[in-house]
C-alpha cells in the first residue's frame, strides 16, 4: 500500500485557480477598456484631423426643412432638436398602431386556426404561411406602390357621403373642433371608464360571494356610450365638424391619414400579425387537452372554456413570444425610410444627419432611443408575464 503524495496545502500564487481566474479577468477588463478607449480617442482624433465638427450644438440650430407629418407643431423654422422629437413621435405612433392591430389580427387568426369550420381554418393557415414568408420590405412596397398608389387622384376621390374621402394622397375624414363646454364631455368619458372599472370589481366580488353573475359587458357598453351622450346633450353639443374640402390641388381641413402611414401600419400589422398568430396557436396547443375535457365535464359552456380555462393557461406561453414580436415590430418600423414615412430613422438619421453631417452623434442618439423603447416594452411585458405566470405553492 503506497501512500499518495500529499497535496500541497499552499500552491504557488499563480497556480491558485482563484488567483489565476482573477488575473485573467482583470487583464480582459483592462484590454476591453483599452480597446474602447482606443476606438473613442482614435475617432475623435481622426475627426479633429479631418475637420469634422462634433458635439451636440447642432440640435439648437434651425433645421430649414419641412416634414410631411408631425404630431406637434413643426415648420422649417424649428430646430434640429425638434426634428428628433417629431420623428420620435411618428415612430411611437406607427409602432403603437402596429402593436395594437397586429395583436388583434394575431389573436383572431391564431384562434381561427382551431375553428371547426374548414374554410376559416384554411384561411387562417393561408394567411399565416403567406405573410410570414414574404420579406417585410417587399410587403411595404406592395401596399404602398401597388395597392395605395392605384387609388384615384384627388379630384376623383372615392367618398362616403361627401365627408370621408379616399385618394392617392391619403384618407381624409372630418375632424372635431372642440368649443367651450367640451370639458364636461371629456369628464364624462373619464367618469365612464372609471365607472366600468368599479363595476367589474363589484361584479366579480358579488360572484365570489353569492355565485350570481352580472351582465358586465352589456352594462359596460351602456355606461361607455350613455354617460358621454348625456353630457353631450346637457352641454349643448360643444363640437363642430371640420369637413375636408377640395381646394386647389388637395383637400384641406379635417383629419388626414397619409398613405405612407397607412402602408407602413398595414404592412407591420399583417406581417407581425402572422407571427403572433403562430405564437397564439403554440400557446393554445400547449394547454393539455385534458383541461378542456375536465372543463366540459363540469358543464362549462364552450365559450367559457376558452375564456376561463384555455386562454389563461395559454398566455404563459404566448406572452414571452409577444414580447419579442413587439420589439421586432418597433425595429422593423425603420423600414419606413423606403417609402418616406417620416419616422425617427427617416427624419433624423436621414435628412438631419445629411444636412448636419454629425453622423456619430445622430446614430448614437437614435440607437439609444430604440434601445430605450424596446427596454420599456420588455419591462412592461415582463411585468405582464409575471402576472400570468403559474402561481406555484411553496
Amino acid at each position: 500500500m503506497s501512500e499518495k503524495p500529499q497535496v500541497k496545502s499552499s500552491p504557488s500564487f499563480f497556480n491558485n485557480p482563484r488567483n489565476r481566474s482573477l488575473i485573467y479577468q482583470l487583464l480582459l477588463l483592462v484590454g476591453l477598456a483599452y480597446f474602447f478607449y482606443g476606438i473613442v480617442s482614435n475617432t475623435l482624433a481622426n475627426m479633429e484631423a479631418r475637420g469634422i465638427k462634433s458635439g451636440y450644438d447642432f440640435l439648437f440650430t434651425t433645421a430649414g426643412f419641412d416634414i410631411l407629418m408631425s404630431l406637434i407643431p413643426y415648420d422649417a423654422t424649428h430646430t434640429y432638436g425638434r426634428t428628433f422629437v417629431v420623428g420620435l413621435l411618428n415612430t411611437i405612433l406607427v409602432s403603437t398602431i402596429g402593436i395594437i392591430l397586429s395583436t388583434i389580427v394575431g389573436f383572431i387568426m391564431g384562434v381561427a386556426h382551431f375553428s371547426h369550420n374548414l374554410l376559416i381554418r384554411k384561411l387562417a393557415v393561408a394567411y399565416i404561411e403567406t405573410f410570414r414568408n414574404i420579406p417585410l420590405l417587399l410587403q411595404i412596397f406592395f401596399w404602398y406602390f401597388a395597392v395605395l398608389a392605384a387609388l384615384p387622384s384627388a379630384r376623383q376621390s372615392m367618398s362616403i357621403g361627401e365627408a370621408i374621402f379616399l385618394n392617392v394622397r391619403g384618407l381624409y375624414f372630418p375632424g372635431l373642433i372642440a368649443e367651450s363646454g367640451a370639458g364636461i364631455v371629456y369628464g364624462a368619458i373619464a367618469a365612464a371608464i372609471a365607472g366600468i372599472f368599479f363595476l367589474r370589481r363589484w361584479a366579480k366580488k358579488r360572484q365570489n360571494d353569492t355565485g350570481q353573475q352580472f351582465p358586465v359587458f352589456t352594462a359596460s357598453l351602456g355606461i361607455l356610450f350613455g354617460l358621454p351622450l348625456i353630457a353631450l346633450l346637457v352641454s349643448g353639443i360643444p363640437f363642430v365638424w371640420d369637413f375636408p374640402e377640395l381646394k386647389g390641388f388637395n383637400f384641406r381641413g379635417g383629419v388626414t391619414v397619409i398613405p405612407e402611414l397607412m402602408a407602413l401600419a398595414l404592412a407591420l400589422t399583417v406581417y407581425t400579425g402572422a407571427f403572433i398568430a403562430e405564437a397564439v396557436r403554440a400557446g393554445i396547443q400547449a394547454v393539455p387537452h385534458g383541461q378542456t375535457e375536465a372543463a366540459r365535464s363540469i358543464g362549462l359552456k364552450e365559450s367559457k372554456i376558452m375564456k376561463l380555462i384555455v386562454v389563461p393557461q395559454a398566455m404563459r406561453v404566448i406572452v414571452p413570444l409577444l414580447n419579442s414580436e413587439y420589439q421586432s415590430l418597433v425595429k422593423n418600423s425603420t423600414l419606413a425610410t423606403a417609402i418616406g414615412y417620416p419616422d425617427l430613422f427617416t427624419v433624423f438619421v436621414g435628412t438631419t444627419l445629411n444636412q448636419t453631417g454629425q453622423a456619430i452623434e445622430i446614430v448614437f442618439m437614435t440607437m439609444a432611443v430604440y434601445f430605450v423603447i424596446n427596454m420599456s416594452i420588455s419591462f412592461v411585458m415582463n411585468r405582464f408575464n409575471a402576472s400570468v405566470e403559474l402561481a406555484e405553492r411553496n
Binding site: F35, F65, F249, G340, G350, G357
Partner: protein, 337 residues
C-alpha cells in the same frame, strides 16, 4: 505564463492597429484603382448600362483621375451611393472621390471634413409638374404636394422658397431618385423638385415624358462638383487639376482626336498640358503625360458634356452656364504652367 503573454500581445496588437493613414494618392497607386462614389443611377451623370459599364458626366471625373494617376481611365471602382450615404462614405475613407451631383455649400465645405475640388456642372433647382395641372409658374403651387429626394440641398431650398413666397406645401421625401419619380408618376405628389439637369433626366424616365413639363423658375444656385476628404492636399490637387485639365483642353482646342498631334507639335500651352513640356506631373507625384492621358482617354470637357448630357445624349441639355467663359458661360480653368 504563456497565455498571459499572448493576452498582452493581443492588447498591443490592438493598440498598434489604431495607427495613422497614408496619403490617398499613395493608396490609389498601390491599389491600382480609384474608388469613386457615384449615384445609384441618374441619366447623364452616372448610370450603368446593360453590360455594367458606368458612364456620365460625373463618372468622367473619376475616369479622368484614374487616367491621370494610373494612366488608364478604366481603373475605377464605382460605389453607388444614395444622397444620404455619400458624405459618410467619403469621411470613413470608403471612397477616394465623391462625384455625385453634389452641391458645393458652406456647411458641407466647412463642417463635414470635406473639400470641393471644383465645379463640373453649374445647376439650379427647378420644378417638374404634370401638364394636366395647368400650372405655368411655381407661384401657382399653393397647397401642392411636392416629391423630393432626402438628404439634398433641394429640401432646404424648397422650404426657403415657399416660405419666402408665403406658399404652403407638403414635402414627401424619398430615398432614391427612382422612388421619387415613382411617387410623382403614381400621383402621390403634384410637383417633383430637383436640380434642373436631374429633372430632364427624370422626365425621360417617365412612362409618358410629354405628360410632364419643367417650370421656368430656377430657385437656387447649385454648383455641382467632385469632393475629397479634407487634409489630404496632394490628393486634392490631383482631383482638382484632373477636372481643370478637361476644361483647359477644351479652351486650348485639344480633344481626344487631336491629343497626339498636340502632344507632339502643339503650341507651348498645349504641350505643357499634354506633358511633353514642363514637369507638371512630377509636381503632383503622377506621370508626366497625365494631361494627355485624360484628354486621350476621356476627352475634353466639351466632348464629355455633349456625349453625356448634351446634343449627343437623350437629355439634349444646352451648354448654357456650362459653356466656356469666352462663349457665354462661366466654365473657366486656371492655366497649366
Amino acid at each position: 505564463m504563456k497565455r498571459l503573454t499572448s493576452v498582452i500581445a493581443t492588447g498591443l496588437a490592438l493598440g498598434l492597429s489604431f495607427g495613422a493613414q497614408a496619403g490617398t494618392l499613395e493608396d490609389v497607386q498601390k491599389r491600382g484603382s480609384v474608388s469613386c462614389g457615384v449615384s445609384t443611377g441618374l441619366a447623364g451623370f452616372s448610370q450603368k448600362d446593360e453590360n455594367g459599364t458606368w458612364s456620365g458626366l460625373d463618372v468622367d471625373v473619376c475616369r479622368a483621375v484614374a487616367a491621370a494617376v494610373l494612366g488608364d481611365a478604366a481603373k475605377v471602382q464605382y460605389k453607388p451611393l444614395t444622397a444620404k450615404e455619400r458624405f459618410t462614405a467619403l469621411q470613413s475613407g470608403e471612397i477616394d472621390i465623391l462625384s455625385r451631383n453634389t452641391t458645393w455649400t458652406h456647411t458641407r465645405d466647412t463642417s463635414l471634413g470635406l473639400n470641393f475640388a471644383g465645379v463640373n456642372y453649374y445647376d439650379g433647382q427647378g420644378f417638374m409638374v404634370s401638364k394636366d395641372l395647368g400650372v405655368k409658374s411655381a407661384l401657382e403651387l399653393d397647397g401642392a404636394a411636392v416629391c423630393i429626394q432626402a438628404g439634398t440641398t433641394t429640401e432646404l431650398n424648397l422650404a426657403d422658397y415657399f416660405r419666402a413666397n408665403g406658399i404652403t406645401y407638403k414635402a414627401i421625401t424619398f430615398d432614391t431618385s427612382d422612388q421619387t419619380r415613382a411617387g410623382f408618376e403614381s400621383g402621390r405628389c403634384d410637383v417633383l423638385t430637383s436640380d434642373q439637369s436631374q429633372l430632364y433626366a427624370l422626365r425621360i424616365g417617365l412612362k409618358d415624358p410629354s405628360s410632364a413639363m419643367v417650370l421656368p423658375e430656377v430657385i437656387s444656385k447649385e454648383p455641382l462638383g467632385p469632393v475629397v476628404s479634407q487634409g489630404d492636399d496632394a490628393w486634392f490637387n490631383v482631383v482638382r487639376w484632373s477636372l481643370m485639365a478637361m476644361v483647359e483642353a477644351e479652351f486650348l482646342g485639344v480633344d481626344s482626336a487631336s491629343a497626339d498631334k498636340a502632344k507632339a507639335e502643339g503650341n507651348p500651352s498645349q504641350k505643357r498640358l499634354m506633358g511633353s513640356e514642363g514637369d507638371s506631373g512630377a509636381k503632383m507625384g503622377i506621370p508626366a503625360d497625365w494631361g494627355y492621358n485624360i484628354v486621350k482617354q476621356v476627352g475634353n470637357y466639351a466632348e464629355s458634356f455633349e456625349r453625356n448630357v448634351g446634343a449627343g445624349s437623350p437629355l439634349k441639355i444646352a451648354r448654357g452656364l456650362n459653356a466656356q467663359w469666352n462663349k457665354g458661360g462661366i466654365m473657366y480653368s486656371s492655366p497649366v504652367r
